[in-house]
Symmetry: C2
Subunit: 342 residues, 2 copies
């Protein structure tokens, strides 16, 4: 982990900022493509769909598509743009549904679709986005893309169901946490890399390696995101810290803290997570610092990043490899940046 | 409309009871197929998926698939069973989401998924059912089935969004009502007939005719369903009458009543629909009877049934034709039965 990289953290936090410059034309094409989709929706719901598409989202999954399918000296390829739109629409649909369930008012500095149009319309709007994502996925010559994306979508939903049903429960092991993250986050990262490399025509071994890379990067990214919820800077991440504790979501920082607290303190934390006592965020952060929780969780990110890198090691000469490895370095720098701010 | 048919209404109301006897092996195959899908879902959510699949649902859309793809003397075909499962899963997913939005406690004599698992899990469970439906749709040789089903799914959602946003509004014309019904109900009927006939290998003209038949039958069925909400027998339909009035849903019987009431009475009804006054169901039913609303709405059903029949008229010799026309007669008998009970 390079501490010099950590000093130059960008003004807006973006774990993968380093490689995003080269993707500007690709992401511009993606935006044009997404907006061109509006015409495919029924006129009555176009404004609502536009509201969902027109986010200042990070477009991480499209970036994975473009980078995994990278060929030197080529214009953004139409099939990769379409695939990027598919995975982004699936992601946007899950956000619309997440925001209903979390009763979130604001995402990315504006009202959520659930708040803007009501939860009922938002359920259906998310459904329409899902349906159109899978419809776009049928516009490839074979059923392969749609099959992979629909399976991934089901796995993402399953992961979120498990997380939802476990909310407020403190009976969650690290294995349970890993399983939830694997389904709800890593799955869409995995399929983005898998299909990006596949569409670009790379050999089967490399396509599988890209999929493994994506999965491990996805797990690493989610653990990082859970770390930010405790160790980020509110002004930088644009949201309140400690929301996972307040909403009873047992993420890795809390699991690691529970493992390390003396029995009486652990019982008090359990009562906070299960909603029986008000959350003591400042105290819990202080205990995390005293008990080395940051290091433990950052170590878990590092382990996943190492697994992601290892997947690509046999193919240093293929064009996506250095770019995808650049994502790993960007994420490492972000984690180091959090460490510096503790 | 045959009044002798209306005398023999079945004990359990089923608009299409007449042709369902011959479909018993098909529907048994469908049930087996649907239950075999459980293994495709993540173990953590199988119980919930099983709960949704194991309904005493009418399986209307699967019936349309089997009948539109009917070839004499053949066993239930595997591809039609798969297609029937796709459309039924899409329908079940929309029911799971509908019941969240309607805050319904009971459907088909048991707790809704939303009540059993909570609205949050139910949003995601519906998503997982959608995703798996479209995944099954990719298990055909070409992308055609999945493309048609995903487009229909989007249209169904769009129709429900429009209906949701209009709830409590009395500014809905007959054209608006027709548009909502066309999207939210007729679309899945249409695609069931279209793809059933297509998979069975009928010629393009007939496939298009089956699609038109399905669309008009779907509109007719929804208008009938809206009529039942006022003119059904509670003990027979297993739900409370007048729910559309109580929930501010401006269906055709209410539109027709509004058109016929004197100004002051219409204003009072508008206040009931928009939730400003408690609904006066008995009074409104009496007015519907006095002003001939039943006949007007039954006439609208009849018009759609006539259009459905007309679509198939050029092909009396093809095996689905008499069966699909049988559905029309069943629905006519149901409407006549409602008329007898007024």
């Amino acid at each position: 982990m390079s501490s010099s990289a950590a000093v130059n953290v960008p003004a807006k936090p973006h774990a993968f900022a380093g490689v995003f410059g080269m993707l500007a034309p690709h992401l511009a094409d993606l935006d044009r493509f997404l907006h061109a989709q509006l015409g495919a929706f029924e006129p009555e719901i176009r404004t609502m769909v536009d509201y969902c598409i027109d986010t200042s989202g990070k477009r991480l999954r499209p970036a994975l598509v473009f980078l995994s399918g990278w060929r030197e000296g080529k214009e953004p390829r139409a099939d990769l743009v379409r695939l990027a739109a598919v995975v982004e629409l699936v992601h946007l649909a899950t956000l619309v549904h997440d925001d209903i369930m979390d009763e979130a008012d604001v995402r990315r500095s504006r009202r959520t679709a659930a708040r803007e149009y009501g939860p009922t319309a938002a359920v259906l709007l998310g459904d329409a986005l899902f349906a159109h994502a899978l419809h776009l996925a049928t516009q490839f010559p074979t059923t392969e893309i749609c099959a992979a994306v629909s399976e991934s979508t089901r796995r993402v939903c399953a992961g979120e169901i498990v997380q939802t049903l476990r909310r407020g429960s403190t009976n969650i092991t690290r294995a349970d946490y890993q399983r939830i993250v694997d389904l709800k986050t890593a799955e869409l990262f995995r399929v983005s890399c898998f299909l990006g490399a596949k569409l670009a025509g790379f050999a089967g071994d490399y396509v599988e390696a890209a999929a493994r890379f994506g999965r491990h990067l996805g797990i690493a990214y989610q653990i990082y995101d859970d770390l930010v919820d405790f160790f980020g800077e509110e002004t930088r991440i644009g949201k309140t810290l400690g929301t996972d504790l307040a909403s009873g979501k047992l993420t890795l920082p809390l699991i690691a803290l529970l493992e390390r607290l003396p029995e009486a303190e652990a019982a008090a934390l359990v009562a906070e997570i299960s909603g029986q006592r008000p959350p003591q965020l400042a105290l819990r952060l202080q205990q995390m610092n005293e008990l080395g929780v940051f290091g433990v969780v950052a170590g878990a990110v590092e382990t996943e990043i190492a697994a992601a890198k290892a997947a690509l090691r046999p193919w240093p000469e293929l064009s996506p490899t250095p770019l995808l490895l650049g994502l790993c370095e960007g994420l490492e720098a972000q984690v180091a940046g959090l460490g510096h701010r503790r």
